[in-house]
């Protein structure tokens, strides 16, 4: 059987390798790879620190963002807030007197105390009789019902 090396011998040009390398490549390669290893070790250490503390870093970062946005929101809320008086001067006076147990009559008195020029409605008897006669209502029926 024909040897493979014999089949291809015309294409190989003996021991001559057609592929070449740059000058001193193999002499320098060990030094290059040693420096690459040192470089890689540093990168690996940095990555290890980062990945070991990744959850803590993420939590810290998230906390800072939440605090920051909370601070901004709170400040915006305070700016928009308007001063609205909750109570009138009269109520304020009552509370200051510590009258928690407020009597209804007193409240009514307080409500109408400051009413000025209040028009008093006076109903005359003759007006009543005139109204009843105009509307043809029998006065005696109403009197008997009362």
């Amino acid at each position: 059987m024909e040897k493979t090396s014999d089949i291809f011998k015309n294409y190989e040009n003996g021991e001559n390798n057609p592929f070449k390398v740059p000058k001193d490549y193999f002499e320098e390669f060990p030094t290059i790879i040693q420096s690459k290893i040192v470089e890689n070790k540093k990168t690996l250490l940095q990555n290890r620190l980062f990945f070991n503390f990744k959850p803590q870093i993420a939590i810290a970062f998230a906390s800072i963002i939440i605090i920051f946005f909370s601070f901004i929101s709170y400040n915006l809320f305070l700016e928009n807030k308007s001063q609205v008086p909750l109570i009138s001067d009269e109520m304020k006076e009552i509370i200051e007197l510590e009258t928690y147990d407020i009597d209804e009559e007193f409240l009514l008195y307080a409500l109408f105390e400051n009413e000025e020029n209040k028009e008093e409605i006076v109903i005359d008897n003759s007006d009543l009789i005139n109204y009843l006669m105009q509307n043809e209502i029998d006065y005696n029926i109403i009197y008997s019902e009362l």
Partner: protein, 182 residues
Amino acid sequence: MLEYSDTELLKLFRNEDSKSYAFNLLVRQYQKILYWHIRKIVINHEDTNDILQETFLKIWFGLEKFRADSKLYTWMYRIATNEALSFLKQKRRKYLLPIVDVEKSMMNSLESDAFFEGDEMQKIFQLAILKLPQKQRLVFNMKYFDEMKYEDMSKILNTSVGALKASYHHAVKKIKLFLESD
């Protein structure tokens, strides 16, 4: 250069004081074999240099855990093969090239490669090898150029000895046909 056995190198490597020295010895002992193996896969010197550096970096970081259930040489050869094949896969993905075009681009680079000094016959021979399917090309290179035993090849490529022999036989036939037709 004095050559150390696998056991001696591993012993030196696992000692913190002699770790760098042991690795330096390892690099000097195996750099050429691994370089030429990778070069035959990717053709281009610059790519070969990058892949070889990655290979030795993986060897450095993996050697501590190496269990010696295979030969050190077989283990390193497997790393180099996988790195070279990964490189070709990445190249295909990067440029969206199908596998055929990757081989075509390598043929073109062979034409213009400053580090290829073969004559026309050698160029045709290399082109014939590049036309083989990827795995078949690997088998051919490892058997024909590296004169590797089928048993060692089987451990590196994770393929049975029988399949490897058949693959090599077919590879030789295809190359012969190509050369005769040219």
